[in-house]
Symmetry: C2
Subunit: 160 residues, 2 copies
């Protein structure tokens, strides 16, 4: 994918954490996910379609998921329950939604968020799409953002 | 979600397995996923958007994933590698694609497939969406299909 597509997602992640959670992110080194970057315990995923198809994955370590959900729910979350996964899905939705608005030429629409939880899993993209992965630190623990996009004008013209 | 939306996915799953894999499916009892139906080791997920948003999850036990991929790759797959996850993503894509064509009024478009692999994970839908889960047996082992859809005319009219 083209690297310029990643910047709107980084900006929207920073804005979302700042405005929703009063949390400043420290960005780590951007990498391609060829080597399967580590995924954390709670991952919100959003599918994208339009003049491009792709997926955004916002993967939070347990501590970040609980602290973020506590902020959003206005009560202390101590376990990964439906309220917490809904909160993480909503964060992924906000990140994808704001980035979509910036990437106007791609005419993206976004799917429902799903949240994957567990201690032993990987999220794989199709092998012809190389997602970009950016690790961040939050002060509450690590998180990562992965974005994989493939531009598909031909598909759009065919009406899919 | 309305139960009539599930039938195109069931038909397309049956057709995909019959035509691509020469495999007849035996359908188990349809259930709501409120109790978190078991998810198998390799799950292809596809996001849907349009006049509805949602997700399709095709979750295959290890044996089914390997046998299905072996059929598609024309060589024996013995471990869950990128070729196998690409094959499972492609199966999910075919199931979603054929169902989308039947559900014309929802004007769905589909995202890239992602494939989640692992022995310990759950895939959660937003708590305001109750996905429908259908287990199947293949002769090669079990699989399940989960579909969660929420109709969003208001969103579509707002241009998202």
């Amino acid at each position: 994918m083209r690297v310029e597509y990643i910047n709107p997602f980084i900006r929207s992640l920073n804005n979302t954490f700042r405005t929703m959670l009063s949390c400043e992110l420290t960005r780590g080194t951007l990498s391609l996910v060829a080597d399967r970057a580590p995924i954390h315990e709670v991952s919100g995923t959003i599918g994208l379609s339009g003049r491009a198809v792709g997926t955004v994955v916002l993967s939070l370590s347990r501590g970040v998921a609980l602290r973020a959900a506590s902020h959003m729910l206005l009560c202390e979350a101590t376990e990964i329950n439906d309220d917490v996964t809904d909160a993480v899905g909503e964060l992924a939705n906000m990140v994808a939604g704001a980035a979509k608005a910036e990437l106007e030429d791609l005419q993206l629409s976004i799917s429902l968020p799903n949240v994957i939880t567990g201690r032993d899993y990987e999220i794989r993209f199709p092998s012809n799409v190389t997602p970009i992965c950016i690790p961040f630190d939050t002060g509450w623990g690590p998180l990562s953002l992965q974005v994989g996009i493939s531009v598909v004008d031909a598909l759009v013209e065919a009406g899919t």
